[in-house]
Amino acid sequence: QVSAALREGQITPTELCQRCLSLIKSTKFLNAYITVTEETALKQAEESEKRFRRGQPLGVLDGIPVAVKDNFNTAGIETTCASNMLKGYISPYNATVVQKLLDQGAVLVGKTNLDEFAMGSGSTDGVFGPVRNPWSYSRQYKEKSAPKSHPEDKEPEWVIAGGSSGGSAAAVSSFTCFAALGSDTGGSTRNPAAHCGVVGLKPTYGLISRHGLIPLVNSMDVPGILTRCVDDAALVLGSLAGHDPKDSTTIQDKFKPFELPNLPDVSKLSIGIPKEYHAPGLSSEILALWSKAADLFKSAGAKVIEVSLPHTRYSIVCYHVLCTAEVASNMARFDGLEYGHRSATNDSTESMYAATRREGFNDVVRARILSGNYFLLKQNYEHYFVKAQKVRRLIAQDFGKVFGSGVDVLLTPTTLSHAAAYAEFIKEDNRTRSAQDDILTQAANMAGLPAINVPAALSERGLPVGLQFIGRPFQEKQLLTVAKWFEKEVKFPMIQLEEVKRHDHGAFQHQKSASFS
């Protein structure tokens, strides 16, 4: 809709960019951004404006403000991974996905906050502090939560944004940009999307280039897309997907961008409900929402069947082994020599390495490196790493069998419950939290499948909850069609951000339209 507004001249790219920038300022307390690229953004907007004036915009993304998670390389703009290790690091090159966005005329407004090196599920463990969920400041949450939970407090406790792409989710949710890039290794795009009430797409592994994404787990990482509606996600996907000669794991086949039907039809589809996703700790609210959603599909004529993915329960432990092993390997390059933090300790190369890594990485990163190296030791390799890989294959085969039996899309919850209050969340350590929070999402990464979070409803406390659809590999069109149909059915409410309203009436007017498609 904004794209159309730009084309029709109702608003100029510069105006749009300025409004986003001023919203970023007024929502600074959310801590969604690590770097705001005001100057370059305005320059890009100006360029875009010239193109519009000439009547030659580059495409639907031209002039659209976007944000990028701070683990994607951006030439000339700091890329920190929310770590002391890369504080002040300015990359000399753009990640392929960033380059593609810029080539389409998108306006980069900033780099978003995350857990250090994307290790976490709350966006609470980065060196720049936690991201606050915009819904903490919504009228909906305040009305439903404040009087009950903390009658003596004026304001209810703020809740986490989810993670690790919490900054991106919060940025999209609070209208400071129209789309944001996240990354998804075990659920890092879908989890914050669920908590912040936005759409979070994790495409099939190999569909989008990882070149320039600072890796967490190379064999599972996928750039994720966060938007306010499913159509937007499809558009961004269309501009990012396809083979990249710089990433040998991207598919060779040409990717055809697609548009979703206006009136999606699910009546001929078969929706699978994997029983193993009825996991311990699943809130009754979400369980109810899940079966309500299944009923919706049923009443629309779709076949809804219960299916089994028997190896699901082993997935999270194996994910942990494979994840930490690759982390140990990927983090080996941060030694303070070529780039990044270097300790002042210089007794020997070894002591400099040790001090650099101790000072540069937080406890979470160091703990994962330690356990990863343990799993990779010669005496443990077979017992842990190889076993985990075998189970990974079994998990992928589970999905293959279900899809082979005629199921088109799987429907599951995205999270066990709505977002936790920050004070509650940090009571548990990162490892425990990640194990709980990734439980419903990481299996799709293990199998490389596309999955999407669609906001479904508000919880009793007025916080968003979402459901996840998992599709066949490279069948994003089908997956997104189902997601769009569901989105239309549930009519997820718009966030009512009083702060935003107070600060910026004009911008809110336009951005109320939310989507740019």
Binding site: S91, A95, G212, T249, S329, D335, L376
Partner: protein, 547 residues
């Protein structure tokens, strides 16, 4: 000659004792006599009753792939370039960069695998090998630990017995595998400023690691095997394989044991940068181990460095010798799939696939084939064919001369090996640097063939030609008046004069001592400054003496 392709080596080394008053005392290193039988027979221990030792030598050879760009990045590969001028973002391990396999490196490895009779794996895998070192920016090396690109090959090479070129034995060493891997950068330690400087120009250059089974038994064999490999790599163009430039690096695994017993504990000798040092290092290490064991000591499984100045191996104080490399599959590279004509998918872009059969058909003649062809085509001795191939460019030089002269190749080879090569060696020149071109040498040899000059005169001409003053052989012949004396009368007079002046010799000849005739021929040659036809001189002298 022993049977060709005798696998392994039965050579046996004995420890030689110097007997002193206080019992056996080991001889000083380097002076010890070593009994070694290259024919593969076991040398029986002598009366002292000492069991013989069997040395076992295996090699790990890293050959830098000759390619314009690195194994996984687009940076240039050059030997001489300003430090850190050939470094891509990937080579410097900038976060977020990914490896992209260089097709040329794969082809070079396939060629090498085929030339070494390996079976080339249609599917091979890449792994990460982790260790922290300043010139390894990523903290791991990408290599092929689980499934390498080529396995189970063999290499035939020849060694000569007792240093005689005329007695050569063909031996075979099994090739365990060839794997593709990245080279590291270079560390330069500045001890005075206690700094280490890093040059990443070499980081990420493609290497082929050739692993040779422990089928060798002495330094000479190891050096001969590596020399043959070097020739093969250079013939294929898969590596320039110049040891001095580090394009070929050899590590030797050495152990000794008694016959019939399991292999001994082995040591790894590194830091060997020439073939001569390889032979020295291996032999030294064998001696050292025998001495150690004979003295009741034990051999440690350790890495030792060869000190070329001292001519010995010393333990490397390497804390990381026992480290765990924590191998892991490289997740950013899909399996490397190769095709043959049968398995080649029809719709594949030929630019994107590597076809093993296609490469096989285009392999150039390997050194062994080239040698056989030389022997057959030119009728030269097998050992001469070895010399021709061992010197870079010498075969081409020889063949050029042969095609430009009427002289028989069998005679040409003498001029090439005795005159050209020894001159070049004396002056430390390569064939390419020779001041006398194949054209000039052919010219000169033609003068001999046309009986215009004698070979003695030809040598004089050659010594003028070395000066490289741009004169032709004919110029020099004319200038120095070296033409054969065609006038028989003139020659007869000279012969007569010599006979007249050497009464004693003439008496001796007439008494039946024919050998003295050669002295007279020599005197005639001196008189004519080599311008006389020796055959004619001999005839004339004989005729005159029998008168």
């Amino acid at each position: 000659m022993a049977a060709a392709a005798s696998r392994g080596c039965g050579g046996v080394w004995r420890f030689a004792w110097q007997r002193g008053a206080r019992g056996p005392v080991p001889a000083p290193r380097g002076q010890r006599a070593v009994a070694f039988n290259a024919r593969g027979g076991v040398v029986q221990p002598e009366k002292c009753g000492l069991a013989p030792w069997v040395p076992v030598v295996g090699l790990e050879i890293h050959a830098q792939i000759s390619s314009n760009s690195k194994l996984f990045s687009g940076s240039q590969v050059q030997f001489v370039a300003p430090p850190n001028s050939l470094v891509s973002f990937f080579d410097a391990s900038l976060p977020g960069t990914l490896p992209v396999l260089n097709r040329r490196c794969v082809e070079a490895a396939v060629m090498t695998g085929l030339a070494l009779n390996c079976s080339v794996n249609k599917k091979s895998l890449f792994d990460r090998k982790h260790y922290f070192y300043a010139d390894l920016p990523a903290g791991y090396q990408i290599t092929q630990q689980r499934v390498p690109i080529a396995v189970n090959g063999s290499l035939s090479y020849s060694v000569c017995i007792d240093n005689k070129m005329s007695q050569m034995v063909t031996k075979t060493v099994r090739i365990k595998q060839i794997q593709l891997e990245q080279d590291s950068g270079k560390s330069l330690h500045d001890d005075t400023r206690s700094q280490t400087l890093i040059d990443l120009n070499r980081a990420g250059v493609g290497l082929m690691e050739v692993v040779m089974e422990p089928d060798m038994c002495c330094g000479e064999e190891a050096a001969a095997a590596v020399r043959e490999l070097q020739l093969i790599l250079q013939t294929l163009g898969s590596s320039q394989a110049v040891m001095a430039e580090g394009q070929l690096r050899v590590d030797a695994n050495v152990s000794v044991h008694h016959p019939g017993e399991p292999y001994g504990v082995r040591t790894e000798v590194k830091n060997i940068n020439s073939l001569r040092f390889l032979a020295k290092a291996v032999d030294y290490e064998i001696q050292r181990q025998i001495e150690e064991l004979e003295n009741g000591g034990t051999i440690l499984n350790e890495t030792r460095a060869f000190d070329s100045k001292l001519g010995c191996t010393v333990p490397m104080r390497d804390k990381e010798a026992k480290q765990d490399y924590r191998f892991m599959p490289e997740p950013n590279l899909p399996p490397l799939i190769l095709y043959d004509t049968k398995s080649l998918p029809a719709n594949m872009n030929h630019q994107q696939v590597v076809n093993i059969d296609w490469i096989h058909e285009r392999l150039p003649d390997l050194p062994s084939v080239k040698r056989a062809k030389l022997v057959e085509q030119y009728g030269i001795l097998p050992e001469h064919s070895f010399t021709l191939l061992n010197e870079d460019g010498l075969t081409e030089f020889f063949e050029n001369v042969v095609t430009q002269t009427q002289m028989k190749p069998k005679k040409v080879i003498g001029w090439i090996l005795k005159d050209l090569l020894s001159y070049l060696k004396q002056h430390s020149l390569t064939v390419k640097e020779s001041p006398v071109s194949s054209f000039l040498l052919a010219d000169l040899l033609n003068l001999i063939e046309k009986k215009e000059i004698s070979s003695t005169a030809a040598k004089q001409v050659l010594s003028e030609l070395w000066k490289g003053e741009g004169k032709t052989p004919l110029d020099i012949v004319k200038e120095k008046k070296l033409e054969l004396i065609q006038d028989q009368k003139e020659l007869e007079e000279i012969c007569q004069a010599v006979i007249d002046g050497q009464e004693n010799e003439v008496m001796a000849i007439k008494a039946g001592n024919r050998k003295v005739l050669n002295k007279l021929i020599g005197l005639v040659q001196r008189e004519t400054q080599g311008r006389a036809n020796p055959v004619l001189v001999k005839q004339l002298l004989e005729k005159k003496l029998s008168e």
